[in-house]
């Protein structure tokens, strides 16, 4: 590596994960409660077709449909794809086939996993049956998977009221996305400079505004920012609020002041906590400087410098 090589761009994993809740409504409630009771329900459409899994509204006529029917736990593979390396939270830990299975009595196929020793043992037309999970809660995972089955064809669909004791009315549907996040070259430069307790923005070659933190381009002119400009360390509180409610995951005692701070030389305010002064004495125009703590990537907070307040006219364009 030569001295002129640009620094490595920062990268880190970003996991976005949340347990969303879902109210099921009448049809999905019956379907998932049915699975808990080892009963597979479909719904009959206006033209007599049986849809499994059931839906609330007819895909052809848009009418509300509530005519539930029970179908067999056996069926036929209509198409498939081999999954050689199962990923996190997939139905089986060992290689398996994703299959569409038309259950006996149904007119549509349901997507699930087929436990099979290898792709050579799977084919369209393969007869399969449900392998029920031991611990069933009223979820699609109550079907552990499908397995090959040599027995007889299931009964034709029969009407079902869709009522069970202790109906499942809601589920938790965890969502998880795994990213590799990179803030890009400009913010990498900014973050690296912060480790030396310097705040380095970038100037737009067209409008000459200094962006902190830099994003690599001027959002108004649409051109790359190239010149690096050290700003601060002191700045002016342009506006603020007093936070009286504790935010989740933040270990800050309330009340505290959340301020917009225009560092000297920057054309856009950044946000930070104002400390070292009673919360009710913070004011617009207050001059502040960063306070760093050991190991902190960003200033812990900003405290008064003791200088006289800035004139409103000096910072009003930055609000």
């Amino acid at each position: 590596m030569t001295a002129a090589s640009p620094p490595e761009v920062l990268r880190a994993p970003l996991v976005v994960e949340f347990p969303f809740t879902r109210s099921l409504g009448p049809v999905q409630s019956a379907f998932l409660t049915g699975l808990r009771e080892r009963t597979v329900l479909g719904v009959r459409t206006g033209d007599g077709k049986v849809l499994v899994p059931p839906v609330e509204y007819d895909p052809v006529t848009a009418e509300e449909i509530r005519d539930l029917v029970e179908v067999a736990p056996t069926g036929t593979v209509t198409t498939w794809a081999w999954n050689p390396s199962p990923r996190r939270d997939q139905p089986l830990k060992t290689p398996f086939a994703w299959v569409l299975v038309k259950l006996d009595g149904a007119d549509t196929a349901i997507l699930h996993a087929l436990d099979a020793p290898g792709p050579e043992s799977v084919h369209t037309g393969l007869r399969v049956r449900i392998r029920w999970a031991g611990d069933r809660t009223g979820a699609i995972t109550d079907i552990a998977c499908f397995e090959p089955y040599e027995g007889k064809t299931g009964e034709a669909a029969g009407p079902h009221e869709g009522r069970f004791a202790d109906m499942v009315t809601g589920i938790i549907a965890p969502a998880r996305l795994d990213y590799t996040y990179s803030p890009g070259r400009a913010q990498t430069r900014y973050i690296n400079a912060l480790s030396e307790r310097k705040t380095v923005g970038e100037r737009c070659p067209s409008c000459h505004k200094v962006y902190v933190p830099p994003r690599g381009a001027c959002p108004t002119c649409g051109v790359a920012t190239t010149d690096q400009v050290e700003v601060g360390p002191a700045g002016t509180v342009t506006t603020y609020c007093i936070v009286n409610i504790k935010a989740r995951n933040l270990d800050i005692e309330v009340p505290y002041v959340y301020g917009h701070i225009a560092l000297d030389g920057a054309d856009l305010a950044l946000h930070g906590r104002i400390g070292g002064i009673p919360y009710d004495q913070v004011r617009m125009g207050l001059r502040v400087e960063p306070v760093w703590t050991e190991g902190g990537r960003y200033p812990d907070h900003y405290r008064p410098t003791g200088e006289p307040d800035a004139d409103y006219d000096a910072y009003k364009e930055l609000i």
Partner: protein, 388 residues
């Protein structure tokens, strides 16, 4: 070739509440859509296309609603589009639907927006733990409160103005059966005694978290002629955007909002909005945004918006009622809130707003914004077909 005039002939809303555990999201949107169809006396077969909008996907973890909701909205075999512009989405969605008609691509379009906040987490969706970035330090209101303080400093508005807006909107909501909050014993004293969350924003001056959906049927001139009820005519509509953060951004009165309003007024032939517009449904998530938007939308000179609020002009009985429906302060299914503004404006000029009807409303502005004042969408609707 001139544009096809666009008419609103059907409007439907759910009864907005904190949590609709009794229905799926499909069931929720269905209610609003069926009420709109019933209002227009149309059936699914009369709809040529469906345009839907919702809050950002991370809010409620519902990706690709245009796939999931096609059955519930009778969209099979028809074009279905999804619009995505943060909090302004309900307005943008209606405008995309409107443009499909004015350009004569379709004759009759169902447009709908929704959110189930009880199954969402907007705050989580807005504060993902992005590596290397400083965590958001202030919660939802902390984003808005500093801009409100800046407005107060800029205009010298007395600090009671925000409470007047909240008191008015909550009383208006009592006249709107679809509104979420119905605070029957509301008083100004109660509003002013409510806890200060993000000073200068009190709890009583913030919007609730609601489950709800709103739908409209838009149609062309021939469709309007068949309408069983008086239509609302679209006299102008526009969208504008600007970055959430840039050097020189006016966070108190964003340029994109001014430009969007100016475009709508130009289309509608409005030269004096304060006199020519009878009522406004504007997106006010925190009470102080009423005086702020009054200036941004040209109803008052800069620094004068709070005087309209303080003198009662924006009351239901005033000469420019704002948020006669109770507004976002009384009902906030985020993804639907913008469309509710557009729909309530249309209800006013159709004379169908019931107890919260503004007497003699002939022209009304619907306004939505979102994404940290990044997106703006507005329409002006009138009781009369626009002169072409």
């Amino acid at each position: 070739m001139s544009k096809e005039p666009v008419a609103v002939v059907g409007i439907g809303q759910t009864h907005h509440v904190a949590a609709r555990h009794d229905v799926s999201i499909a069931g929720l949107v269905r209610e609003a859509a069926q009420r709109a169809l019933a209002d227009a006396q149309l059936t699914w077969a009369d709809i040529d296309a469906v345009v839907i909008g919702k809050a950002p996907d991370f809010f409620e973890g519902l990706m690709m609603p245009e796939l999931y909701l096609a059955d519930a909205l009778g969209a099979v075999g028809k074009p279905m589009l999804r619009v995505h512009t943060a909090g302004s989405v309900g307005g943008s969605t209606a405008l995309v639907a409107s443009n499909l008609i004015s350009s004569r691509v379709h004759s009759t379009v169902l447009t709908l927006a929704f959110e189930k906040q009880s199954e969402s987490n907007a705050m989580w969706g807005l504060s993902l733990p992005v590596p290397f970035q400083q965590p958001l330090l202030a919660g939802a209101g902390g984003f808005f409160a500093p801009h409100i303080r800046a407005y107060m400093r800029r205009t010298g508005a007395p600090d009671t103005v925000g409470s007047l807006v909240a008191y008015k909107d909550r009383r208006n909501a009592l006249k709107n059966p679809y509104a979420h909050l119905h605070e029957k014993d509301i008083t100004l004293e109660k509003v002013q005694a409510s806890p200060m969350l993000w000073d200068p924003v009190r709890y009583s001056e913030t919007c609730p978290s609601s489950d709800g959906a709103c739908a409209m049927i838009l149609t062309d001139r021939a469709g309007a002629a068949r309408s069983p009820h008086p239509p609302a005519w679209v006299h102008g509509g526009a969208m504008r955007s600007e970055p959430t953060m840039f050097a020189g951004k006016d966070f108190v009165s964003p340029q994109a909002g001014k430009d969007c309003a100016a475009d709508v007024y130009r289309q509608a032939g409005i030269t004096d909005p304060r006199r020519e517009i009878d009522t406004v449904e504007m997106y006010v998530p925190f009470s102080w945004y009423e005086p702020m938007w009054l200036e941004n939308l040209g109803f008052a000179e800069e620094g004068e918006g709070w005087k309209l609020t303080e003198s009662g002009v924006t009351e239901l009985t005033g000469d420019l009622p704002v948020n006669a429906s109770g507004g976002v302060l009384s009902t906030n299914p985020i993804g639907a809130s913008g469309m509710i503004r557009f729909a309530e404006a249309a209800l006013q000029v159709r004379g169908q707003a019931g107890e919260h009807q503004v007497d003699g409303a002939r022209k009304a502005l619907g306004h939505a914004y979102g994404g940290g004042a990044q997106f703006f969408s507005m329409w002006l609707v009138g009781a009369d077909e626009p002169a072409s």
